[in-house]
Symmetry: C2
Subunit: 503 residues, 2 copies
């Protein structure tokens, strides 16, 4: 990390930013005092101990019982506060996440990872409009994102609804490995699916089982069924990923006013309780298993009950969630997003506001940072690109600024007469090619030029950009033997019907 940070400083004000490893550069903003954080943490523990959390998975309940929890009526698990504190203390504070050869990213208190919008049932683009997602859409989206290092994490940007659910995990894993160097995602939809998908990742990475089980290569997200419930596949996912040594991102989706109290503090208190229960379960399953504390809390539109994003309440939740994550010392995951139905100004505004909230909350992993529409029901090809502009802008703005005597530039000022210009100054000539950020989608021509060139708006420019990214896509190299082994494994699993989805 230290080495990389130094490289980053050397690249300051240099167009050649390495986006693959980002370090936070803004101070963390806070909404709670230290006492208030303690109070919320304490009430979360009290919820787990006194009210309990309903865990529908038999194995999980049994493990928690054996660890010292009390099980009462209707699968309610009551977790003693000291047990929870002891278990979360076992989770690693930092780890390195490995992609294909040559690609890795550190997860640590001061690092930041962006992931694209994921889990969307629909896809949309300017050519083809909005439609149910297919495997072909997902392949396209994976190829497009691969050209942008600012996304270090990948995932199911759209649901491949044309693939049977019992083999979808095989296809999803295969196309992630074939089209990307980055950290892949596996749905926790039953132990059978998890095992097959993780085995594919192990094959692709070319490591033995022992190494795989002790190195972070994959991720899943476990969403609790707020309030106070974890269902069968989600609890199984926590257990399985812990045993496999893979990263479980335990993320209550606590929307204030709907599945959680209407207040920011209340929504976070519930979210925190559920995350702590999940993390405790993971550490009981395997002490030291890598987990990420998830908190994706926003609010709902009280008129319709629909989730909304990029609101002041979403920002508040991000700032508070960061404080709770730092209280327990674990890396944490947030979510960006928008409820907009179109890749328009609302979509751009809400997603950026949400992303700033997550960044200022010190999130270490921000999912849905690009492309999400309709609160996650649709992924937009064009919005994927325009949102990356914001991720890149923030990444560059987090880099150090030079303030050497040469940069402060007394000599440059002395060189230019009053009322003159610096276009040809020595300092400018030495630096102009790499000094400034070059945008992806922004058009900085003047109105006349822009108008005469067809008055193309940002979304249409983004359209051209994703097409270009698709055209220029080159698959990441993979050892031929591994590739064949992976194909054979995938074909065999599909031939035998994949694995059953547990729900």
């Amino acid at each position: 990390m230290a080495r990389r940070r130094r490289q980053s400083a050397a690249r300051a004000e240099n167009q050649g930013t390495d986006y693959t490893q980002l370090t936070h550069g803004f101070p963390r903003a806070e909404v709670f005092s230290t006492d208030q954080v303690e109070a919320i943490h304490g009430e979360s523990l009290r919820v787990l101990e006194e009210l309990g959390i309903r865990i529908l998975n038999d194995e999980a309940r049994e493990m928690l019982r054996a660890a010292g929890c009390e099980i009462r009526d209707d699968m309610m698990v009551h977790l003693p506060a000291d047990l929870v504190e002891a278990e979360i203390a076992r989770a690693p504070r930092r780890f390195t996440w490995h992609g294909a050869t040559g690609f890795s990213v550190d997860v640590a208190p001061d690092t930041l990872i962006f992931g694209p919008g994921a889990g969307c049932p629909n896809a949309t683009d300017l050519d083809r409009g909005r439609r149910p997602g297919t495997l072909a859409d997902l392949v396209e989206l994976l190829k497009i994102q691969e050209g942008f290092d600012i996304l270090q994490k990948i995932g199911p940007m759209v649901e491949a609804q044309d693939v049977p659910v019992n083999t979808r995990h095989v296809e999803l894993t295969r196309i992630q490995l074939e089209n990307s160097r980055k950290i892949p995602f596996v749905f926790a939809r039953g132990s059978g699916q998890t095992e097959q998908a993780l085995e594919m990742i192990r094959i692709a990475r070319g490591v033995d089982m022992e190494t795989f089980r002790n190195t972070a290569y994959a991720s899943t997200v476990v969403n609790t069924n707020s309030p106070r419930q974890i269902d069968v596949p989600m609890a199984q996912g926590i257990i399985d990923f812990a045993r496999w040594g893979q990263v479980c991102v335990i993320t209550p989706f606590c929307l204030a006013g709907a599945m959680a109290p209407i207040t920011t503090a209340g929504a976070l208190m519930l979210s925190h309780a559920e995350a702590l229960a999940g993390i405790a379960l993971s550490q009981i399953a395997r002490p030291g298993a890598p987990v990420i504390y998830g908190a994706f809390s926003s609010n709902v539109d009280m008129k319709s009950g629909a989730p909304v994003f990029g609101t002041p309440e979403h920002i508040h939740a991000n700032l508070g969630a960061g404080q709770l994550a730092r209280r327990i010392g674990l890396p944490w995951r947030s979510g960006s997003g928008t409820a907009s139905n179109a890749p328009d100004v609302q979509g751009a505004m809400e997603t950026q506001a949400a992303t700033w909230g997550a960044v200022l909350g010190g999130a270490n992993l921000i999912y849905h940072a690009a492309g999400w529409l309709e609160g996650g029901l649709t992924i937009s090809y064009e919005k994927l690109i325009t949102d990356l502009e914001i991720c890149q802008t923030i990444a560059r703005a987090m880099e150090p600024v030079e303030a050497t005597p040469e940069a402060i530039g007394f000599d440059a000022v002395a060189e230019v007469p009053p009322g003159g210009h610096f276009f040809a100054a020595t300092q400018t000539m030495n630096r102009y090619a790499t000094q400034f950020y070059e945008p992806l989608t922004s058009d900085w021509s003047n109105f006349g030029q822009w108008h005469d060139a067809g008055a193309v708006d940002t979304t249409k420019r983004a359209h051209a950009l994703w097409k270009e990214a698709l055209r220029t896509f080159t698959p990441p190299p993979m050892d031929v033997a591994r590739k064949e082994e992976l194909a054979a494994y995938a074909a065999a699993r599909i031939a035998e019907g994949g694995a059953v989805v547990v729900d």
Copy 2:
């Protein structure tokens, strides 16, 4: 201030936010170490002392000479560092800015004021397209903004190009006073124009000359002619506004790579030097005169030389400028904006990024926070509205979050069974009407509803909103006698041909 802050806390998480007095709620982000700030400040002083600044105004040069500066060839004024330090120390750290009766806003280290886009030669809206600005456009824009308290400062949102320049200041002042309670703007285009405009404001506020000269009621912006030059009317503006006790916002517009060094540190060093020279002049003209330290530094597109905004460099400049402002202890003014040619996604993205940079830089006054397009060449009626959504979102996000036991909500969590919902919980019912921010332009209906209602995009919704604001505009009350006096004074000035523009 303290009283207002307490009110604000009581309004936390309450839809009824009072936007008229904002208090910073995010930590200041920094790009320089304390030593680096000292180094930049020191080099700025060295520029003023060793290289000098060219001041084209005879009176200003004479005042500076009399104060101890050395004048060399070609109107170059060399300001001794100790003189500059002594003069800037006289400027007030805080003051209250008064609008119409009942409207005032505190300028202090922790307060924030938003102003709309200003100075644009053109106006555009979806009905009428882009055209040269007129007085009628400006009246419309002033009426529209008056419905939104999130703008506390007003100004010449568009240039009334259909009004002769020698009487334009009379019309500009008159329509600001007739249509708004907020703090008006006066162009510094010669002492005659300044005197007439300020006299109109004095009449409208109903105060005697002594009171007027000792209370902040008006503002101007002085842009230096970077690098290292202050022209005749700008220097005169500094002197006149100081003598009148009105607020001079001294703002070098130092675009890195064009009128300033290409580095952030260098552009800010030059900007700082020019601002210090202007502030020193103001304090020599009248010790204790209210001034605002301006720093509107961004970069240019190195391909075209065009100013750009919302870039990582613009963010860096805002963070560094804030540090320099705090070094000298004065309130400071930044600028938001975009180079976009349309009120589209680029416009929304760049303006929001620029605004976050200014907010995180701790700016006390952010001009061009809403409506600017094309780097200030055009103001968009629709973008005015959509940008206000971001200002309001940030304002709400800066408010405190409740963390009382009731807000943390153990009882609310206890009330809802696992897997249930909080829509009908007691806490929800007590709070739902006012808990969440209600957006101006965001449409949170689902895709089907939105599509069936015509798939109206954000910009079109903003169009409807400004029309509604125009329809519902009510002029602020003004005492009849003052109104008549104001009208008579304006008519007399216009009849005699106004006052000559100095340039």
